[in-house]
Structure formats: C-alpha cells, structure tokens
C-alpha cells in the first residue's frame, strides 16, 4: 500500500497531459455538448426572432423592455384619449358654429323688424321665426356626443339645458363641472365647454335674449332695435367659446402628433431591445453550426487511434 492513498500527483506519478481513454472521450463529449448547446441557443434566437428568451438572458434589456412595453400601452391610451377629445371638441365646435349662425339669423330678423314698414302680421311672422330659432338654439345647446351632452359637464341629466315649468331655460345641475382627457402624463385637456359660458346665464342667456326679442318684435320696431345690443353680447360670448374650443382642438391635435412620434420611437426602441438583428443572428447560427460539426469531426478523429491500430 505504498502508492495507494498517496497522491500520485505529489509523488511524481502524475504526468500532466496523460491521455487516457476516458479523459479524451470525456473532453470530446463535453466540447460536443457545449457546441450543441450554443447551436440550440442560436437556433432558438433565429426561429423566435427574440433576443431575450428569458429575463436573465439580458437583465438590463428586460428592465428596458418592460418599461417600454408599459410606456407603449400608456401611449396607446393617450392616443385613444386624444381621439376622443378631438371628437368631443369637434362636436362642440360644430354646435357652436351652428349656434352662431342661428344668432346671426336672429340678428338679421331683428334688423328687419326694426323697420317701420312691417305690418302687425309681418311682425308676428318674424316673432314666430325667432321663437323657432330659440328652439333650434336649445337643441344645439343640448348636442350630445356618445350620449353625453357636450355642454353639460358632468350633469346626470340627459340634457345640458331644459326649460322649467315657467318656460325659462336653465342649465342642468352639475353642468359646470369640467370633463377632461389625459393626453400625456400630467397633461390634461378640458374637452367639454361650459354651457353657461357659451349660451349665457339668467337674463343674459341666449334663450332669454331670443324670447325677449320675439316679444319686442311684436311690440314694435323701436323695441326690436333696442334688443340688438343684447343680441350682439350673446353672439360675442358664443364666438369667444368657439375660439376657446378651437384653441383646445389645435392643442389636442399637436399632442396627437407628438404622441404618434413618441409611439414610433418607443416601438423602435422596443424592437432594438427585444428583437434579434436577423443578419447577425444568421451569421451566428452558421458559425455555431460549423463549430458543432468541427467538434464532432475532432471527436471522431481523437477517440479512435491507439497503438493497437498499428500492432499486428
């Protein structure tokens, strides 16, 4: 038992590079397995088109990819909100333009009624026309978008303005509360238009003005002309609201276009982080394929020959 139990590597029995059958074949096997694993990885990358198969493949890349995916989902929401805001503001814009047109028609009628040439029946006809305009105006003020009155704020009622029992038109409860859309983190844009700002309130309300005008037209030419000032004031309020809606519309549009740009850059960043460069991946695959074949060839050559092949 002199050698047994004592390290051959210490007693000089161990020669570095002694080529033993198991050692050589083991090494060959290990190198083939390693080459096969690299080949499998390269194949998976090419076939899936994804650089990150598992989060641990690229920890920093995964961090970026998750953030980019979240940001893209958010961008999607903002784009939808912007589209909604455009529709909402577009609806308001159309309604206010119609309201302005109605007021301008009313003004023409008022000017016409200011002439002494009108007969009593002619005045009555004009007054009837003006009352019709007032009803049109009420319908315009109650314009809805997707079931929501656009001048009604957060009102629970189905209309923004309604005539009370006394015939006086009043805004519905909650009509003054703003409705906004978030177009980007921290960027909220108001999409509704306060009904009372556009159509006036109380005695100044466009409905009261038109009612009074109709009564004045019946009363006489002087009374009709006296109403022109109030009519102009109502027209001014509506034009101001129209300009306000236009400004907001432009703002949403610009936000929409920057949002589209942002989506584009986020998408390309995500591709860069997650997707493989196909040319590079295919080159890699070809290289690993060759390496695998080389490992197989080398193993076949190394394991076979011993002195036995040459002894006869």
């Amino acid at each position: 038992m002199s050698v047994s139990g004592v390290s051959a590597s210490l007693t000089g029995g161990y020669v570095s590079g002694r080529a033993t059958l198991r050692g050589t074949s083991g090494t060959a096997q290990a190198s083939i397995a390693a080459a096969a694993e690299r080949l499998a990885r390269a194949t998976a990358e090419v076939s899936s088109g994804k650089k990150i198969q598992r989060p641990s493949d690229d920890v920093v890349g995964t961090d970026k990819a998750l953030e980019l995916r979240r940001a893209l989902a958010a961008e999607d929401r903002y784009a939808r909100a912007a589209g909604d805001a455009i529709s909402w503001l577009g609806t308001s814009d159309t309604a206010l333009q119609r309201g302005t047109a109605l007021l301008q028609t009313a003004r023409q009628l008022a000017v016409q009624a200011g002439s002494d040439a009108n007969s009593a029946s002619g005045r009555e006809a004009i007054a009837t026309q003006i009352r019709g305009l007032r009803d049109d105006m009420l319908a315009t003020a109650n314009t809805t978008y997707l079931g929501r009155p656009v001048f009604g704020g957060t009102t629970g009622a189905s209309v923004a303005f309604a005539a009370g029992a006394d015939g006086v038109v009043q805004p519905s409860a909650g009509a003054g509360n703003p409705v906004s859309r978030t177009l980007a983190p921290g960027v909220d844009v108001r999409v509704d238009t306060t009904g009372t700002a556009a159509f006036g309130e109380g005695a100044d309300s466009v409905f009261a003005v038109l009612d009074d005008l109709a009564s004045a037209v019946v009363a006489g030419s002087a009374q009709s002309s006296a109403q022109l000032g109030r009519l102009d004031a109502a027209l001014g309020r509506m034009t101001t609201s129209l300009a306000d809606v236009g400004t907001r519309y432009a703002r949403v549009q610009s936000s929409q276009s920057t949002g589209a740009d942002r989506t584009l850059s986020l998408t390309s960043a995500q591709r860069g982080v997650e997707d493989v460069d196909l040319a590079e991946a295919l080159m890699e695959l070809a290289t690993h394929e060759k390496a695998y074949q080389a490992a197989l060839g080398a193993a076949a050559k190394v394991v076979t020959p011993t002195i036995m092949d040459f002894l006869r």
Partner: protein, 456 residues
C-alpha cells in the same frame, strides 16, 4: 547453490510477467469503466540465498529471480479530494440555478401574456370607462371590461403564487427522494468499507471494491457535498458532510428533513437537513434545494405578494368603497388570495352623475414609480439578476468540476498506448525467461546425458 537454481529463476520471471500481463489486461479491459483506477504491478529482484562457508562458492551468489511485491492502485488523493469539493459546489450551483430558472420561467416576460401586458390592458379598460358615458350603455360595457381585465390581472398573480407553491412541493419531494438515496448510498459505502477491510485482511487486494466505493462517495458529493477521508488503519474511508461523519468506517448514519411539509406563503419556515437530530450543514444538491425551500421560493412569493398588495392598496384607495381587489379569505390581500370579484355595476367611474375622475385618475397609477407596474418590473428584474448570477456561477463551477475530473482521469485513468507498451515489455520478458529456461534445460541435458560418454 542448487543446480536447478536457473530453472527456478526463470520460473519466477515467467510467473511475474504473466501476473503483470494479467494486470495490464485488466487495465485495458476497464479503459472505459467509469471510476476505474489503473493498477500497476510492482516487482522486485529476489536476493540470492545467503552463501555458506562450506559451499566454497563465496563471492558469486546470484539472486533468486523476481517477484511481485504488490499490485498498486494508482489513486490520486489530492485530485480526488478536489473533485469531491468541485462536484459539491457544481451541484449546489446547478440546483440553485435550476430553481431560479423555474421561477423565472413563470414570468412570461417580456411577452404579450406577461403581467405587464395584463396591467396595460386593465389601465386601458379604466381609461375606456373614463371616455364612456357613465350613465349610458357604453359605461355599462366599459365597467364589465374593467371588471374582466382586473380579474385577469388578479388571476395572473394567483397563477404566479400557485406555480410558486407547486414548485415548492416539487422541490420538497425531490429533497425527500434525495434523502432516501443518500441514506441508501451511505449504507452501501459502509458495507463496501467492511468488505474492503475483510478482503484486505486475507491479504488480497480490494482495488475494484475501492473503485466502486469511491464512485458512490462521488455521488454523495453531488447530493450532499460529502467529502471522504481515508482511515489510517485500513483501506476504508469516512464520509464527512458539514464536519459530521455520515459514514464512520463500517457504520452509516441517516439524514432526515426537518421543516414544514407544505408551503405557507412568504412566511414559510426554514427547511433543514438533520443528522442524528441535529442540523447538518449540507452542500451539493441538498443545499441548493433547502435554500430554495427556505429562501428563494418564499422570497418569490413575497415578490408576488408585494405586487398584489401595491395593486390592491392603490386601486382600492382611488376607487373607494367597495374595494375592487379583495382577498378570497377576507384577510389581507396577497398574491394567493387576490381577486377582483366586484360586481361591474359597483365599479365607480367618478363621484356621481357623469363624473369620471376616478376612472381617469386610475390609469395614472401605471406611471407611478411606486405603482404596481413598477413593483412588478422591480421583482422581475431582481429575479432575473439573481438567475443570471446563478447561471454564471453554475457554468463556472461546472467547468471547475470538469477540470478536476480531467485532472483525476488524467492521473488515474487508463492510457491504452502505455498499457500496450507495458504488455509488449512483459511479453518480451516472458519470452526471454522462457529462453533462459531452455538454455538451462540444454545445459542440464549436457550435464546429465552427455557427461562421461566421450569416445563411447
């Protein structure tokens, strides 16, 4: 000096060369046997008989031939010891990486079915509710969508928790199987130790038994990070795990598992391996598995729980009464218990009438650095970092093990070329001895048959 001395010298050589050729043959036969340690015949010249004065031949006594002093087993304790340690390290790293990789596989990130995508869909649904008419049919549809998407997120978290629990059970089962295998291996090693001592007692070599036993010890190194230390009094070895003897010569001890039988969420108690009732500092696969049961998997569960808690606290906080996310058991919301079983009609878009401030504000949680998305991302990236580190360690330790295996094989394995050369040498020596025998025979023939017949 005997007349027949020459014959006996030649005979001793014939016997020795034959024995040497047998051993070379055994080496070649086992060139591919795993764990086989090459053997070598050690020979020595036999001194001649002490010359006696009466012989009158003093001064020219020759030796009495050659003999086999021993058949040595060319082990390499240093390389074998290094391999045992490297094997244990590699098994530990591989087990650790394996469990972490399973955890990571459950994330499905980055992908379209991961929690990030589900959360995105849920925030989108809230945003959709804020754009709908809360009092009209579009609002009702949007509420149903919000409820559905919220439940999808909750289900995704529950799935993660369930997968973690089932992984825990799998690992626990594996540890149980491992314990059984270790105990049976330890018994086998002890049996072989006894057999080796008995065989050596009869003067016969027990090399093949020792090879067999060392293979078993190496398996124990993989399973529990065992190392062996040879006993000074015999060819038996002691198997040591964490400083305690698993096999003490001919007697084997048994290990057992101490710890909970099932996972209890993030606060699962520690699992340890015990030997004779006291905790054992195991290595190898067992260390990887106990670490998974005690730290990794409860930690994973805690990660899922943190996301679930962040989600429930923040969404419920914005929504107000009734809560959107609740626990199935009525307690605190965890990944295991989270559910969004709120009735769609109870989902509030805003504070009355057509107010949609709640729904509009909800989506902003996705931007919050303390929000559920951020909590999830942190969890995924932290785990991925741990997996990546474990993979690197597993590769490095596997390389170290392969290199230690290479050193040992290089030292103790069979090189067919050198065995063949040995075989040739012994064959020629045998032929030479046979020639000597012929020469002596012819000499004796001359002496016995031809002496005194000159001129006959």
């Amino acid at each position: 000096m005997s007349t027949f001395q020459g014959l006996s010298i030649a005979l001793s050589s014939l016997q020795t060369q034959r024995r040497a050729m047998d051993v070379a043959g055994q080496n070649v036969a086992n060139a591919a046997t795993p764990g086989y340690t090459r053997q070598r015949v050690d020979t020595a010249a036999i001194a001649g008989p002490r010359a006696s004065l009466s012989d009158g031949v003093r001064g020219w006594t020759t030796g009495s031939g050659v003999t086999v002093t021993q058949v040595a087993r060319l082990t390499d304790r240093l390389a074998a010891g290094r391999l045992e340690v490297a094997t244990g390290d590699a098994a530990l790293a591989s087990a650790r990486a394996g469990v972490l990789s399973t955890v990571e596989g459950g994330f499905a990130e980055p992908g379209d079915s991961g929690l990030t995508a589900r959360l995105g869909a849920m925030w989108g649904a809230w945003s959709g509710l804020s754009e709908a008419d809360p009092l009209g049919p579009t609002g009702d549809a949007a509420r149903v969508t919000v409820a559905g998407r919220s439940e999808e997120v909750a289900a995704s978290l529950r799935q993660g928790a369930a997968r973690t629990t089932s992984t825990w059970s799998d690992v626990r089962g594996e540890l149980g199987t491992l314990t059984t295998e270790v105990n049976s291996l330890a018994t086998s090693v002890a049996d072989l130790n006894r057999l080796i001592v008995t065989t050596e007692g009869t003067g016969a070599p027990a090399h093949e038994l020792a090879d067999q036993r060392d293979e078993l010890v190496r398996r124990l190194s993989t399973l529990v990070g065992a190392t062996s230390s040879p006993r000074s009094d015999s060819g038996a070895v002691d198997v040591v795990v964490g400083g305690q003897k698993l096999v003490d010569g001919g007697t084997a001890a048994g290990i057992a598992i101490s710890g909970p039988a099932a996972m209890d969420g993030a606060s699962t108690a520690a699992t340890t391996v015990t030997l004779g009732g006291s905790a054992l500092a195991v290595g190898g696969t067992a260390a990887g598995l106990t670490e998974a049961l005690t730290t990794t998997l409860p930690g994973t569960m805690a990660g899922y729980d943190r996301v679930a808690a962040a989600l429930a606290t923040q969404v419920n906080g914005r929504h107000g009464d009734p809560a959107v996310f609740t626990a199935t058991d009525g307690g605190a919301v965890t990944a295991t218990t989270i559910t969004a079983s709120i009735a769609p009609a109870d989902i509030k878009a805003g504070n009355g009438d057509r107010d949609v401030s709640i729904a509009a504000g909800m989506a902003s949680l996705s931007e919050s650095t303390a929000g559920p998305d951020a909590a999830w991302r942190t969890f995924v990236v932290t785990t991925a970092g741990a997996v990546s580190a474990a993979d690197v360690r597993a590769t490095a330790t596997a390389t170290a093990r392969d290199s230690a295996q290479g050193v040992l094989t290089s030292s103790t394995g069979v090189d067919i070329d050198s065995e063949m050369v040995d075989l040739l040498t012994f064959q020629r020596a045998y032929e030479g001895a046979a020639r000597v025998m012929t020469a002596v025979d012819e000499m004796l023939d001359t002496l016995i048959n031809r002496t005194g017949v000159v001129g006959r």
